[in-house]
Point group: C2
Chain length 106, copies 2
DNA sequence: TATAGACGCAACCATTCGGTTTCCCAATTT
DNA sequence: AAATTGGGAAACCGAATGGTTGCGTCTATA
């Protein structure tokens, strides 16, 4: 059972849940009300998100509040970094090319 | 058949392929040699990556070279932006807290 | 022109996934 | 204490996924 962030954010419902609880903790029922799906379905998604530490839970009486572990999101950012470096390098190359053309015009 | 970037990068083999062809275009056979998988399997992954425009192909004789469409990767970056904003805001809040503590110490 | 190599595509198969249903537990309410 | 409510866990099901095998096509080479 591979359970990593990339697989976690692959599902559109899970991405929506993440966005929803990014700012404030919410209960499974409250989350489910925002989509047309059942609590059980949301609960399953939350389990997957919890398993890869993208989400943390906090019991409050009989309610369980779920919130986003923002730190974990940085892992995606970190993975993107290798490509960011490439596209920045390309951009600089383009910049060089452009300034060369500029010089030639002069 | 949902076919978006997030679903595309969910598979670890596909992420590896992306990294592999980020810098230089490669043929399916060459890509397959880098993992212990078959050409057909790689071919299928490449099809998925092509379908969501993460990869482009270029025929050269009887070989087809695949390369990464870096631009498309920015969509992930763009999606991450909403969370980046939040964690930066939190960081600034922390900053405020810290400076308040500092002042109190004085 | 015949043969070999590089590929894509379709069919098939085992596994996984997302969702629903059902059941059970614990905390509130009455 | 009994009924209600929030929520997790397991069983089940249809759909999707990843991989393999086999076949057809096109290009290059002998």
């Amino acid at each position: 059972m591979r359970r990593d962030i990339f697989q976690a954010i692959a599902d559109p419902t899970r991405r929506a849940i993440i966005t929803l609880i990014a700012l404030q903790a919410m209960t499974p029922n409250a989350i489910a009300e925002n989509f047309n799906t059942t609590r059980q379905s949301v609960s399953k998604h939350l389990r997957i998100l919890t398993e890869c530490q993208l989400v943390k839970q906090e019991q409050q009486g009989r309610e369980i509040y779920y919130s986003l572990q923002l730190e974990k999101m940085k892992e995606i950012d970190k993975w993107l970094d290798q490509f960011r470096k490439i596209w920045e390098a390309r951009f600089n190359q383009l910049d060089t090319v452009l300034s060369t053309i500029k010089k030639q015009k002069k």
